[in-house]
Symmetry: D5
Subunit: 86 residues, 10 copies
């Protein structure tokens, strides 16, 4: 997920949206659906691993991100690797 | 990591290299240095998360992969995300 | 799915693999898991829609394609569109 | 079709255009010309399959989309696949 | 259409295929289905305009090209332009 | 030629420029210098074939397009194809 | 690091940010953490070599750049080369 | 060098900058440092050959272009070709 | 023009082809049709400027290059620049 | 510099070429013309900084690399950065 908040977004709106994004991300992490969340060094971007039941669930989850309108999201479906020990 | 094993690689060499790769990957996972390993659906590729002390350590680790000569590797340094709960 | 069968593949192997691919594709269509299959005009490529329970199921399905070693596959998770009537 | 509605589009215009888009899409689906319509997960984009008589008909159909001025459209002509069972 | 004839193709096969390609192209031009055919300067490539009834017809036509196995083909559906005088 | 008319262009200017573009295109077609003009389906773009004496003439012709400031133009020099029948 | 300062940034803000950027860059160079800094000829871009303990340190360092919001940064982890004499 | 003058640049500033650019380019041509200057057909771009003592000199020369802030510049270092007769 | 001579080309053929290429290039330079020829630093590539009457002439000239089968050629039509002093 | 040594290169030739490359690289480093040499982590590639008098010198230096035939080299001319302290 690459985040591009427009420079002309009202300060109050920006601060509020970022705060709601954080709350939303942490709630989903606590629910175990947002498994991992890392910052990419030097970029306003993250790498996230989701654990969802279906593509529909993932879409609703992403569509609900407060920063969604300002994000470019690339999705790669993952599965267990034959050499993984867990 | 995208894997491209040449079609003309001797069968015995291929089988042996893939086996050594698996052993190597599992040893590093047990050591806690290869944190996560996922297969990308529909591709002979994986997404891996490493936990290393330095770029030097990561290089030695990757250079030692039995399949290294047949891999295209892209690296993204990651750091803790401000919204991560762990 | 773009198919690139190597020119030096033995004729007998090529014919057999393509036949098994067709059989496999038709079996999956009959099961309702391979929902749609279209040829892209002027290319040895297809656009396919799968209806699967999970990323794991999709991976096994694709990994099992007889032509898998000669394919480049790009996957886009889809979900219901709000304007769809079905 | 990727949709990029400009942020400074008047709210009333945006809502009205999106509503007309939905109506237009559903009418074409009922006519059997817009065969399939899927949302791409995590993107304001869709994958659509059209069943039209000619390139001219497809052009008029697309040019008439209320959201057309805000869309990037990529077209791939499709034909029946030899392994399709329908 | 970009043509990439493999260097190791038998000379006799190459000459024969190129001759059949020319014959095929000229027959289709006489039938009025291959409307225009230009060489791109400095490249073993051409720009062609086809006049066909359907995507199916275009696919059969292209699939039948003797050089088809050695071609990369990109297709752009065209329609009448509002400023065209014919 | 891809056309990108800015959304904030004054309506009167837009209408006038598009009208002058049409007039200009038709005059050049009548002169036989703008040989073919097709609309690309689903895009505000065209494919054009010009018959000019020199690169200088082509440049003046294109530079004179009323919509030139809003266009991305890609040029491919063409020549007669050995298999063309005209 | 490619720098894209928006044209509508207030002059005073621009001058102040560029000055703070210079001060910040020179302080880090004196500390030995910003090892090399070169301008790419003909571009508002630079190539920099950092000597840091960890990805976390690099992220904080970059995130702190006064021009960070206007930069596109690409990172390549480096290690000692076997043929290097130092 | 691709030139992208912003549409909202004040007319007087635009005219003045373009005039100074021309003067600057011609002075450098007279000095023999700007060896060749060609317009790319159908684009607000040029191909230029410079004859300079060093990368530093080239950078100063380019940085001094009145249109520099509106240019994308790509540089390819050239040297004598073994088959050149001059 | 990027040159990619295949590694398995017979040594005698390679040497002969390169020699004929040089002769051909020098003859065209003497005729004034191959105006400039520069080597790109660090690449088996060149930048060339041709002065020809037509696209047809350029095509014949390039098609006749002894190394043509091993070249990727990109062509940009050029014209006089308004700021050029010659 | 990305290195792609062909798999079918004779072992003796490969070992000898790599050894000569190392010797060549170290000699140039001792002369002060090859200023820096870093390995990119996880890739058979390096980032190098050269200090040369001219493009001609750089070309001869690179052309002389024993591994040159197996390298893809990208060059970026650098100059002193205004914020550099050395």
């Amino acid at each position: 997920m690459d985040v591009h908040i427009p420079r002309d977004l009202e300060e109050k709106v920006r601060v509020d949206t970022v705060a709601r994004e954080k709350e939303y991300a942490q709630e989903l992490q606590r629910e175990g659906r947002w498994l991992h969340l890392w910052r990419i060094v030097g970029q306003y971007s993250n790498i996230s691993i989701f654990d969802v039941e279906s593509a529909d669930e993932l879409h609703e989850l992403l569509w609900g991100l407060p920063l969604f309108p300002y994000m470019d999201i690339t999705i790669m479906p993952l599965t267990r690797h034959g050499s993984a020990i867990t």
